[in-house]
Subunit: 252 residues, 2 copies
Amino acid sequence: MDQVLRNPLDLLLRKIRSHHPLSPEDEAAIVALPFRLRNLEPQAYTLREGDLPDRCAVLISGFAFRHKVTGDGSRQIMAIHIPGEALDFQNMFLRESDHNVQMLTRGQVAEIPRAPLEELVLDNPNIARAVMIFTLVEASIFREWVLNIGRRDARSRIAHLLCEFAYRMEAQGLSIESVYELPMTQEQLADATGLTAVHVNRVLQGLQREGLIQRERRIISFVDWQRLRDVADFNPRYLHGREFEGALVNLN
Amino acid sequence: MDQVLRNPLDLLLRKIRSHHPLSPEDEAAIVALPFRLRNLEPQAYTLREGDLPDRCAVLISGFAFRHKVTGDGSRQIMAIHIPGEALDFQNMFLRESDHNVQMLTRGQVAEIPRAPLEELVLDNPNIARAVMIFTLVEASIFREWVLNIGRRDARSRIAHLLCEFAYRMEAQGLSIESVYELPMTQEQLADATGLTAVHVNRVLQGLQREGLIQRERRIISFVDWQRLRDVADFNPRYLHGREFEGALVNLN
DNA sequence: CGTACGTTTGATCTTTCTCAATAATGGTGG
DNA sequence: CCACCATTATTGAGAAAGATCAAACGTACG
């Protein structure tokens, strides 16, 4: 009931707050932004490379991902997005999209017209700072992915992806009990780690055999978080969490 | 003579201008920022993971790079910086550094105290937009690196790195005649592409044998830019250039 | 002018990819 | 509710890109 009456942008507030405090006025201004809700099927694009979009989407429910494709057609996923995250705030400031954003699952998106959003951000230093911060955190995550893909072996890479996903879900208050439905096929997992689906399959089996994870369908449980974290070489510093430390009941 | 008298931050202006127009007042305000020049030796750090810096460095001369190190000690370079680029504007908004920035060559850096810079940016929407834009362009470059390392083979990866470097040098007006002194050892090149130095060496020899590049010491000339670009699968869209199109005499 | 660092070469090994086939799953229309 | 189809997961065998190890060679600079 309460759920239903809330403004869909509340989740965005939660996300922003996790990096930067907002005054009640800031929050009111954000929630007052005009937006249009849109239901999207799996695989639906919210943004395509080359587009010149005039709105910015915030993910309300479901999962999405960013990717690019090489000239010869192989795909690389460079981010997974969970509810509450801004899918393309870069549209506020860059004309042309340099990559694709696509839904991983069915879900809902709030589309905010570019102009009022830009005005709000630029006229309000506190909100500008908040947007800068999560833009910078996103960049930090990309750097960690470069490290992950460039310098870790398949086993660590996949473990790292799992850790990051779990950690961010926790931080957004979206997960319980160390059980995560990772809404990705093994092929998508492969595209996110620079591997092939066949190899991902073998590595996942290996992690399970070692007793680090349990799998049932797409549902992955973390049997031994501490050891998985070691295997992943996962250090959450790059996520620049803030409320994170205390909040992570399940992950420490 | 003229060179000597210019404000070192002029190069920064040029960089910003290449993405976003600045009014004369904006430019004056930027050039009026307090800063301290510092001479740095090769390998000197301007920023270390875990630092809590209170100033932001702009590269005035020489080259620098960003990198992270995994738990078992392998290094991944995630960006090369050329004169005029901001080395750590993220310090303006994030407390703790999540990666290292180190000089590639001897060079000079202008250190701007965090507070006045932050104030200038947040109080001036036009400058805020400019800073947002080049922050977003940097993020776009990280995404392309994820793609490059995750989905291209060694030959394309290295070719891509060369193309990007050349293109950005051109855009900053720092290079002439398709000859680039790439100030990196083969080991650094390896760390930037997720390869080993031995393999980088073999690939560079291959590119030379194919007639795509010429090498003399560290100096690389682009013998066949068009073909190298094809091999690299290089599409400069992700650099979000603006003055780029017309300006690239040598590269088209 | 010698020493540390960077480059080059060769031989061998390993991880991961490729190709191909089979099995399981999930969603759909009848 | 069931049968069917498309997608996803799994398995095996063989190939390949790139890593590793080790040594020799250059060369820049102190």
